[in-house]
């Protein structure tokens, strides 16, 4: 591998353009992932605003163009909002951005296990991103919704099937490479003295998420490969006329696409744990149960997928069985929430921006989790399935919990990554606006689904005054949220010129804070190989330990 020398006082980001493009360094690859993810988050957010624009008043307001109608544009925007938010933001911001940057630092490794494979994964993800940008051209609009249910997705009116399939495939190649890399790194590259019970919970979360990706993504690949062969090569997998079954598509899709919500939320839980323990100045309560709960969620997550198909025509006994398994997820999740509360109990909490975003994220997760219980019960779900209630529910439990966690994590590690301190005032303002906006938006979305029976996905609705009002309230919430996100984006850019940060501004014993310079140097650690004292623990916030830091 070619080696370019820079002065020993260098920073991880102080490299030439060529070194950035050909980089195999986990920090730079992580940053490339992160920037790409953030750009697509903004794009998908704008898509969400377009949906609000369309729904604020009855009727179709989006313009038709290039032979396609306004409703076609709406379907494209809806597909794009879902697919990009889930795959490009919710999964990649963790597995690509945060995990790449932080995991080697947290386990005391110089890099990931396969640095070139890491770079390969990014560039194939980049290729998938270019394919996504191709869909912006009207003839390439994908209008089959992000799930791409067969046989609808084979219809030419639903958009170019091949483009959808190949976007998913490229994404899957990248993600399989990434998860093999992360798992091998965590299993084999931990520094001496860092056992499985001394790993950051964020690392445990990434381990569990990578295992889910490794076993789940191939099912998604299978579902779209068969879609491709059905449409273009004449196979019959989803064709009931000759022995196929469209339900097979749903089973394969949800076998991955349910567990993937834990790929998105487990790292968010990891961030909550890091931030709570650090800002409460206490070791995380029940560390072992926290770690086991992560793996329990990952395991049970593979046994619940049919709850997405309660109205798809599956046998009653499956519906009952999967209703129970779904409710069972609440047990390990409850363990985590109670442990966070117990960690905060009698602590002197620092209410700074990362902590506020973590509180907000847990609150949103709690509301989303509790509204998930009626969804898991078949008899109730039959009534509220495909209504706006479910849309509000998953925006709480997934969209908001995860975005709050990501923002919390960005603020939390901002000093370590950039070497500068973010603006606390602007961060807190952004938090409060986001909390208020998100609750206005998604509470009334749930309300409309439950109380008024407004179906999801529809661009248009009858001009009932109450419905129009409810839609307008949601739009106000969405606008407040947009301002909040904009404020945070401004904060992150502006603070690049902010005050210099210390090596360990949070006084944390976790390796990424205590053993590196700020910003991190190209070789990660001040001393390598990393050595930790016997009584070291990433959450060692007990009296006397801080002599070590």
């Amino acid at each position: 591998m070619a080696v370019a020398h820079v002065p020993p006082s260098g920073t991880w980001y102080g490299a030439t353009l060529k070194e950035w493009i050909f980089t195999t360094d986990h920090k730079k690859v992580g940053m490339l992932y992160f920037i790409t993810s953030l750009v697509f988050f903004v794009v998908a957010g704008l898509f969400g605003l377009i949906i609000r624009f369309e729904q604020t008043a009855p009727g179709i307001h989006l313009p038709g163009m290039f032979g396609q109608e306004g409703a076609d544009l709406y379907n494209y925007i809806l597909t794009g909002h879902g697919a990009i938010m889930l795959l490009w933001w919710a999964v990649v911001v963790w597995g690509g951005g945060f995990a790449n940057f932080l995991v080697p630092l947290m386990i005391g490794a110089r890099d990931v296990a396969f640095p070139r494979l890491n770079s390969f994964s990014y560039w194939s993800f980049f290729g998938a991103s270019l394919l996504v940008l191709l869909t912006l051209l009207p003839p390439n609009w994908i209008k089959m919704l992000w799930t791409g249910y067969a046989p609808y997705s084979m219809n030419d009116n639903a958009g170019p099937t091949s483009l959808y399939v190949l976007i998913v495939l490229l994404y899957s190649i990248s993600s399989t490479g990434g998860s093999v890399n992360m798992i091998t790194t965590i299993v084999s590259m931990r520094a001496k003295g860092i056992g499985w019970t001394k790993l950051n919970l964020f690392v445990h979360a990434i381990m569990a998420a990578s295992l889910i990706q490794l076993f789940g993504v191939p099912a998604l690949m299978g579902s779209v490969i068969l879609l491709f062969t059905d449409k273009y090569l004449g196979t019959n997998f989803y064709n009931p006329m000759l022995g196929g079954d469209p339900l097979l598509y749903q089973h394969l899709l949800w076998f991955y696409s349910h567990p993937v919500v834990y790929v998105m939320i487990l790292p968010a839980f990891g961030v909550f744990s890091e931030v709570i323990s650090t800002m409460a100045r206490k070791p995380i309560f029940g560390y072992i149960s926290m770690a086991l709960a992560i793996y329990a969620i990952a395991f049970v997550g593979f046994e619940t997928w049919v709850h997405h198909m309660f109205v798809s025509g599956v046998p009653d006994w499956t519906r009952v069985l999967f209703s129970y398994t779904t409710l069972f997820v609440a047990v390990p999740t409850g363990i985590k929430i109670f442990n966070w509360v117990a960690t905060l109990h009698k602590a002197s909490i620092r209410y700074n921006t990362p902590m506020l975003f973590t509180f907000g994220g847990i609150l949103m997760f709690l509301i989303g989790g509790l509204t998930g219980i009626p969804n898991a019960m078949v008899s109730i779900d039959l009534g509220i399935s495909d209504s706006l209630f479910i849309v509000g529910h998953f925006h709480y439990v997934l969209g908001m919990a995860l975005t709050f966690a990501a923002f919390s994590g960005i603020y939390f590690w901002y000093p370590k990554v950039t070497g500068r301190m973010y603006s606390e005032g602007l961060g807190k303002l952004s938090f409060w606006l986001m909390l208020i906006g998100a609750n206005i938006m998604f509470f009334f979305q749930m309300y409309m689904g439950m109380a008024n029976g407004m179906p999801r996905r529809y661009p248009d609705y009858p001009p009932i005054p109450e419905w129009v009002q409810l839609m307008q309230i949601q739009t106000v919430g969405a606008l407040i949220m947009s301002v909040a996100i904009l404020l945070s984006l401004i904060n992150w850019v502006k603070s690049l010129w902010g005050p210099k940060a210390d090596d360990n501004p949070w006084k944390s014993p976790s390796l990424e804070w205590s053993m590196t310079t700020t910003p991190v140097g190209p070789n990660n650690f001040k001393k390598f190989p990393v050595e930790v004292p016997d009584d070291w623990h990433p959450y060692a916030y007990y009296k006397g330990y801080h002599a070590h830091i």
Binding site: V3, E19, K28, G127, L170, N236, L248, F525
Partner: protein, 258 residues
């Protein structure tokens, strides 16, 4: 990759992951251009770019690893995890095949099995060839463990030849069945049969590709034995998968009309 210490501060780079990483993008463009945009020329050009990027990238990547890399022994673990993912990909096609076999058992046996049934003697021959190759690659691995480069090359070449013979015979079998009117779109048996065996054959091809890369770089293999172990493990997986693929596609598929 240098893991030794903090004495040299440098930015790790490699020019080869980028072309290999971008090749799926160009190959995808080719597929989309061919099937959806109906622009055959664009498909040929982008497909060509994708293939060139892939082959050059892999060649450069392997050369860089064998010339300058460090063997840290992690590649074996990496391929073990990767094989788990492969098992699930196979599982999706098996799921489709078995669902149809169970749900449509009557019409399957009555109408879908090609007249005369399947050529089970050929399956036995294919199995023999593939399992012999499992032995030869084990011999190759064994040779390199004992620093016997000559034996390593010889057994690698034997494995490549056996794999290629398997593919050729398999292709001949496909053409033969296709000519009899048993095609990929006839019914779910045809669909399942060609997809299962096709996906398996594509894995055989990938395995041969790995062995080919090993053979080209065999001169520098003495200090770097993990790739040989990893390729061998992958090949054993492909051979073991054949048991399930052949058992399903041929025996379970044509059971009732042997």
């Amino acid at each position: 990759m240098a893991h030794e210490g903090s004495h040299a501060v440098h930015h790790e780079v490699s020019p080869w992951a980028l072309p290999v990483g971008l090749s799926p993008f160009f190959l995808s463009l080719a597929a989309i251009a061919y099937f959806t945009w109906k622009m055959a020329m664009v498909a040929v050009v982008t497909g060509g770019i994708g293939l060139v990027l892939f082959i050059l990238g892999i060649a450069g990547w392997a050369n860089e690893y064998f010339s300058k890399g460090h063997d840290e022994g992690l590649g074996f673990q990496g391929i073990v995890w990767f094989v788990f993912a492969e098992v699930v990909i196979f599982g999706t096609v098996f799921a489709g095949f078995w669902m149809a076999r169970v749900n449509h058992a009557d019409v399957w046996v009555r109408e879908w099995i090609p007249p005369g049934g399947m050529n089970l003697a050929l399956v036995a021959l294919l199995t023999l060839i593939l399992w012999t190759s499992s032995f030869t690659i084990w011999k190759a691995e064994h040779s390199i463990e004992h620093n016997d480069l000559g034996g390593y090359r010889l057994w690698l070449i034997a494995t490549i030849i056996l794999g290629t013979v398997f593919l050729v015979l398999h292709a001949w079998e496909w053409l033969h069945l296709w000519a009899k009117g048993f095609t990929i779109s006839s019914n779910m048996y045809g669909t399942g049969f060609y997809t299962l065996t096709g996906i398996h054959a594509s894995h055989v091809l990938v395995g041969i590709g790995m062995q080919f890369v090993l053979l080209i770089n065999s001169g520098k293999a003495l200090g770097k034995k993990t790739p040989a172990r990893a390729a061998s493990y992958y090949w054993h997986f492909v051979d073991l998968a054949w048991l399930l693929v052949a058992g399903t596609a041929y025996i379970v598929g044509s059971y009732g009309k042997f």
